[in-house]
Symmetry: C2
Subunit: 328 residues, 2 copies
DNA sequence: TTGTAAGCGTTATCAC
DNA sequence: GTGATAACGCTTACAA
């Protein structure tokens, strides 16, 4: 391990001078600078970031804490965050909580202990509920899921109106017997359910069903099967995230239900497959790239100016109308 | 920031004693231990991992370097790696190279400078070609893409025989005019093309076409369109990764080609959508969980015993026969 | 313009 | 059993 000392020795200067040359933040005689740079090149010296972090009391890393990177929404967010971080010379620690508050706490502690510069964080329900004061420990930007505290930067989707728009689209296209499947692991599901109900109310209708379930393909499948086998079969199914959509789609296919003729299907998040299946699925596309990028930029802002007042950015989804919700 | 000094002061002992209590690696009087632990709890002390890393000359982090975490294969690998690392108390730095050798080098340097304990690494073609000696700098496990050097641990798929099996499956089902789309960014595409050609040779056939293209949905789409519009239309399309499969599928749909009646389609990697589309796609499923886990375990082995002789683990894919390659 | 030296928070060595 | 202290590699007052 070649250190700054070796360079100093080789260049015949002090470590301070080497440091200054590298940081380029102090007047240095041209000739000295040259000698130092030569030694650096010669020895193939690379600064030790750990030492630098210890000294500076913070590292050029940010944490990304989400339930599961395999959820296509978070995959896209993760990539966008990494891109934005990379541009600023930061790197990203990936943390999956599996909606498990203990894992979440463990990771937040770890990130704190690693002196990360900040965290981009989609909290579990339990975290959201408890009014944590993690803010004090390190900069945070919350994404996707609202928390009570107004002291935190957040980047959220306008879930209520997105769900309202999506539901209204179904109603306008003549569907009347709507069932909703909502994820029970986050505020997102609740908000989307609010928009769903609001739209139905405007039409003076009640939902055929509205279930809060674990946001997984299997639960989406099972619940949809039950709906289809029940006495009051819906003519349209609203799902609040892409895993539930996948499960519902699978159930409709297995039950040989024609979509949308017998039952329509709509959901959230544009995925590789939502376009590819037959019929393609009508969804609210979230601006994942923008969410990830905005969150990262907000985080850098806060790192720079820890006391600036918290900002909440609310982005709009885009309704992509496809075959799965064709006019009746 | 409460440090070990504060704890020492509060407990009326030296920092050394606090350290020993926490490490639990030296005899300590029960009463002292208690006092220390009390102070730790009182002050809510958490060891600074940066300082620990500096002192120990390595950190409990591993790097994950892949082309793009959004590729479903790497998404799954990433999650598996994170799980295995988490179990050992390690965390994962996510690095996307976009098949860009400069980004790759930048990241490898960064990881080195961060003193990571090791790297799980799917190299670009350029890296594989150059016989790098990164091994010296930090432990490596190569995944997915073979490199020349036999001095590195690797976890690979038996690509040639997987492709051979997949192609033979087409031939056995009566398809004769086969076209192959292979990713040009990695050894994987080359190996899979070898298996493809080998199987055809066994049947004394030549492929209708065999293209090495950028492994992206768009290129898969464009190339397939060209194939379908060409004079010698294939009756089956072989794709070497899931992005190409998606592109090809889209093209077949847009061209209103009936699958598999007019043209069959097969590929690699089980994805959410490969099951969901109509017809579902016949694929070689890679054991992503096992690849990620094995790679991580190999890495930990090497971290523990840097001199043990390199190991290459070759895993088998599983042919999942679905509707897209039904018997003619 | 440059050097000296303190200090970031740990842990390991040595002494008692 | 416990305490001083040096060292990990870096940056930054403070001096010169």
């Amino acid at each position: 391990m070649t250190s700054i000392k070796d360079v100093a020795k080789a260049a015949g200067v002090s470590t301070a001078t080497v440091s200054r040359v590298l940081a380029n933040n102090a007047p240095i005689k041209a000739e000295t600078r040259e000698r130092v740079l030569e030694a650096v090149a010669q020895l193939n010296y690379r600064p030790n970031l750990i030492a630098r972090s210890l000294r500076a009391q913070k590292s050029a890393k940010i944490g990304l804490v989400v339930s599961d990177i395999r959820n296509p929404f978070f995959t896209a967010i993760g990539r966008a965050v990494e891109d934005a971080a990379y541009e600023q010379g930061y790197s990203v620690l990936m943390c999956n909580t599996d909606e498990n508050p203990e894992k979440e706490e463990l990771y937040l502690n770890l990130l704190h202990d690693e002196n990360v510069a900040g965290v981009i964080f989609s909290p579990t329900q339990q975290f959201s509920a408890a009014s944590h004061s993690y803010n004090a420990k390190m900069p945070f930007v919350i994404i996707d899921r609202a928390v009570e505290s107004k002291e935190t930067d957040m980047v959220l989707l306008d879930n209520v109106s997105a769900a309202y728009e999506l539901t209204t689209h179904l109603l306008e296209n003549g569907y009347r017997k709507l069932a909703g499947l909502f994820g029970d692991a986050s505020t997102t599901g609740q908000e989307r359910s609010r928009g769903f109900h609001k739209a139905l109310k405007d039409y003076q209708l009640n939902p055929v069903a509205a279930h809060f379930i674990s946001p997984r393909i299997k639960q989406g499948y099972d619940t949809t099967i039950a709906l289809l086998e029940g006495t009051n079969r819906p003519d349209a199914i609203f799902t609040s995230n892409s895993l539930l959509t996948a499960g519902a789609f699978q159930a409709l296919r297995d039950k040989k239900i024609s979509v949308p003729n017998e039952v329509a299907l709509v959901g959230f998040d544009e995925t590789t497959w939502s376009e590819l299946v037959d019929p393609p699925i009508t969804v609210i596309a979230q601006p994942t790239e923008e969410i990830g990028r905005t969150a990262t930029e907000l985080l850098f802002q806060r790192i720079q100016e820890p006391s600036r007042s918290p900002k909440t950015v609310i982005l709009k989804g885009t309704l992509l109308v496809k075959g799965s919700s064709k006019k009746k």
